[in-house]
C-alpha cells in the first residue's frame, strides 16, 4: 500500500511479497485440483495459452480489463477519502440504463453526436446513482456500505423492469432484451477485435486519477480528508462537497463500464449483462491498496483469470466458476497479509505520512495489549 514512506528496497520487498502471495495461491489451487482428480499443470497451461498465447487471447484480456479497471476506479476514488463504495455493480447498471435511454430516444442523431451522448449519459447515470448514498452519508443518515449494497439490487431490478417491459424488443420474442442499437450509438471497435473505445476512457480515468491525486491541490485535500476528516473540517476543507463530487465521479466511471459493455460488446441492453464486474472491481481496488498503478496490474491478473475460466470449461470440463477459487485465494492471502505487513511496519517505527496513520498506530497498540487473551 502506498501508505508508508518507503525506500526502493522496501518497495521491492513489498512487490516480492505480493508475488509470493499470488504464487502461494496458485500452488494451493493446484493442490485443490489434484484433490478433485484434475491435472493442475494442464489447467495452468490452458489458461496461459488461451489468454496470452495468441493475439486473439490478448485482445480478449484487454476487453475484460476495460470494465474491471473502470469499476475499480469507482471504488478507488471514494476510498481515498475514506468512503466505501460497494455499489459499483448498481452504478454500472444505471449507467447502461441511462445510455440505453439516450440511444433509443435519440436514434436519429449522427454518430459524431451519438457516441459522446451515450458516454455522457452513462457517466451521469452511474454518477447520480452513486450520489444517493453520498447524500445519505453526508447527512449522517445512513452508512454508505449498506446503502450502496442495497442500491445494487434495486438498480438491477430497475433495469430488469425496462428490459422485460417498455423497452423489450418484440422481434426477439424469446429473449428479454432491447432492440439492437443503431450504429451511430455503438462505440467503435478496433479492427476485427472486440476492443472498443472504452479502452481510452479507462486509460484516461486511471491516468487522470493518478495525476490528480499526486500533483493537484484537490488530490492533496482528498488525502487530508481521508487521513483525518475532523481535522480537515476544522481546517476549512469542503468535506461534504468533496464527498459528493468523489462519489459522483466514481459512480460515473462505473457507469462508463456499463456503457462499454452495452454499447460496444453487447449492442443491446440485456438483464444481468454484468458477471459481477462491480464486485470484482471492489476486490481489485482493495487488493491494489487503492493505488492506480496497482489497479491496472490487478485488473490484468483478474482478466486473465476470468477469461481463463472460460477456457477451463471448454478444455477440461471444469465449471467456469473454478477460477473463482484462485481469485479468492489470492484475495485471502493479500487481505490477510497486507495488514500484517502494516502492523509490522508500525512496530518497526516507519514514519506514517497520511491516511489513517493515527488509527493504525492505535490499532497496533491494541493488538499488543490484547495478545495475552
Amino acid at each position: 500500500m502506498s501508505t508508508l514512506v518507503q525506500g526502493n528496497r522496501t518497495r521491492l520487498l513489498f512487490l516480492l511479497r505480493y508475488l509470493a502471495m499470488i504464487g502461494l495461491a496458485l500452488v494451493v489451487f493446484a493442490l485443490l485440483l489434484l484433490l478433485f482428480g484434475k491435472d493442475p499443470l494442464r489447467a495452468y497451461i490452458d489458461i496461459l495459452s488461451s489468454t496470452l498465447g495468441s493475439s486473439y487471447g490478448i485482445t480478449e484480456v484487454v476487453v475484460k480489463m476495460i470494465p474491471l479497471v473502470l469499476c475499480a476506479c469507482a471504488v478507488m476514488l471514494p476510498a481515498r477519502i475514506g468512503l466505501v463504495n460497494v455499489g459499483g455493480e448498481g452504478q454500472l447498471y444505471m449507467g447502461a440504463w441511462l445510455a440505453t435511454w439516450g440511444a433509443l430516444t435519440f436514434s436519429q442523431l449522427p454518430q459524431a453526436l451519438g457516441i459522446p451522448l451515450v458516454i455522457l449519459l452513462g457517466f451521469i447515470g452511474g454518477g447520480l446513482w452513486a450520489l444517493i448514498p453520498a447524500i445519505l452519508r453526508a447527512k449522517g443518515w445512513l452508512n454508505e456500505v449498506i446503502s450502496t449494497l442495497l442500491l445494487n439490487y434495486i438498480a438491477i431490478l430497475f433495469v430488469g423492469y425496462f428490459v422485460f417491459g417498455p423497452w423489450r424488443d418484440t422481434a426477439s420474442a424469446n429473449f428479454p432484451q432491447t432492440p439492437k442499437f443503431v450504429d451511430a450509438m455503438r462505440l467503435p471497435q478496433f479492427g476485427d477485435t472486440r476492443i472498443h473505445l472504452g479502452l481510452f476512457l479507462a486509460i484516461a480515468a486511471v491516468v487522470l486519477i493518478y495525476l490528480v491525486l499526486r500533483y493537484t491541490v484537490w488530490g492533496y485535500d482528498m488525502r487530508a480528508i481521508g487521513g483525518n476528516a475532523e481535522a480537515s473540517r476544522r481546517n476549512g476543507l469542503p468535506i461534504t462537497k468533496t464527498m459528493l463530487m468523489v462519489m459522483f465521479i466514481g459512480g460515473g466511471l462505473a457507469g462508463l463500464a456499463g456503457v462499454g459493455e452495452v454499447m460496444a460488446i453487447e449492442g443491446r441492453l440485456r438483464p444481468n449483462f454484468s458477471p459481477g464486474y462491480g464486485y470484482i472491481g471492489f476486490l481489485i481496488s482493495w487488493l491494489a491498496g487503492h493505488n492506480p498503478v496497482g489497479v491496472v496490474m490487478m485488473s490484468f491478473l483478474m482478466a486473465v483469470l476470468t477469461f481463463g475460466g472460460d477456457t477451463l470449461q471448454i478444455t477440461q470440463g471444469m465449471p467456469f466458476a473454478t477460477v473463482n477459487i484462485i481469485i479468492a485465494l489470492i484475495l485471502f492471502y493479500c487481505t490477510g497479509q497486507v495488514l500484517s505487513a502494516e502492523s509490522e511496519a508500525v512496530s518497526y517505527g516507519y514514519v506514517l505520512c497520511h491516511r489513517g496513520a493515527r488509527r493504525r498506530i492505535a490499532g497496533g497498540h491494541c493488538r499488543t495489549l490484547r495478545r495475552p487473551g
Binding site: L32, F36, A79, G82, V84, V86, L136, W141, L142, N143, V145, I146, S147, L149, L150, L151, Y153, I154, L157, F158, G160, Y161, F164, G165, G226, G227, Y279, F282, L283, W286, L287, M318, P319, F320, A321, T322, V323, N324, I325, I326, I327, A328, L329, L331, F332, T335, G336, Q337, L339, S340, S343, R355, G356, R359, G363, C366, R367, R370, G373
Partner: protein, 297 residues
Amino acid sequence: MLVGALQAGTAVLYAALGEVIVERAGVINLGLEGTMLMGASVGFAVTYQTGNPWLGLIAAALAGALFNLVLAFLVVTRGANQLASGLALGFLGIGLSALIGRPYVGQLIEGLRNVPLPILADIPFVGEVLFQHDVLIYAVIPLAFFLQWVLFSTRWGLSIRTVGEDKTVAYAAGLRTQWLQYQALFVGGLLAGLGGAHLSLAFTGVWGEQMTSGRGFIAVALVIFAAWNPLRAVLGAFLFGGALAFQLQLQARGAPVSPFFLDMIPYLLTLGVLIFLRGNRKFAMPAGLKTVFEGMR
C-alpha cells in the same frame, strides 16, 4: 400463495438467522452466498451418495460452519478487512461448490420429504398451508424463538452481544473475544449451510451452479432490515418470500404491476427502515459493526 412464501423464504431465513448471530458478534459475512452454496452442494452430494437426506443435512451444516471458519481465521485472527474478505469468501464458495457439485448436475435425488403433521394437516386450508411441509420449515420458527432467547436471555448471548458492541470492553470484562467470534461464525455457518441444503434437498431437489441466485445477499439485507433481531428476521423473510409469491399470483391474474417493482419493495423498505429508525435504540446497529463500516480508510 402462502405456501410459496413459506417455501421460498425458508432458505433465506436460515441464513439470515445465522447471520444475526454473526453480526451481533461484530462480524459481517458478505460471503453468505458462498456459505449457502457450500451447504447446498455438500448436502446434495452426501445425500446422493448415501441416499439419506439426514446425513446430507448434517454434512451441509458442517460444511457451512467449517467454511465460515475460513472467514473467522481471516478477520478475527489475522484482522483482515471484513468486507473484502467476505466478498472473497463468496467467490471461493461459488467456485468450490461448482467443483464439488459438478458430478451431480442434472441428477435427481429423493430429498427431504414433506411430512404432513397428523390431524393438524387435515384442517381445511390452514392445514394445507401450515402443516404439510418438510422438517426444516417446521423447525425454523421455533428456531427463531430459540435464538431470540439465546441472544437476549443467556450468558452466551450476552457475551456475544458484548463482543459485538465493544471488543475492548468485552476483553476487559474477561471475555475471550476471539473465541466468541469464532463460535458465532461457526453457528452462523451451520445455519447458512442448512439454508443452502433446504434449497437443494427440499425446495428444488436438484443441484445447479449458483443455485442460491443472490439469496445470500438477500439474507444480509434481511438481517439489516430486521435490525439484528431473530424474530423480526422471520417477519422480514416472509415479506421477502411473500413478495416473490405475490408477484406470481399477480402475473397469473394479469395485473398491471411489474414484478420487478414488487421485488424492489424489500430493499426499499430496508433503506427506509434504516433511514427513519436510525435514532431508535431498539433498532441500533451493533457498535462493533459500525466501526467495521467506518474503519476502512
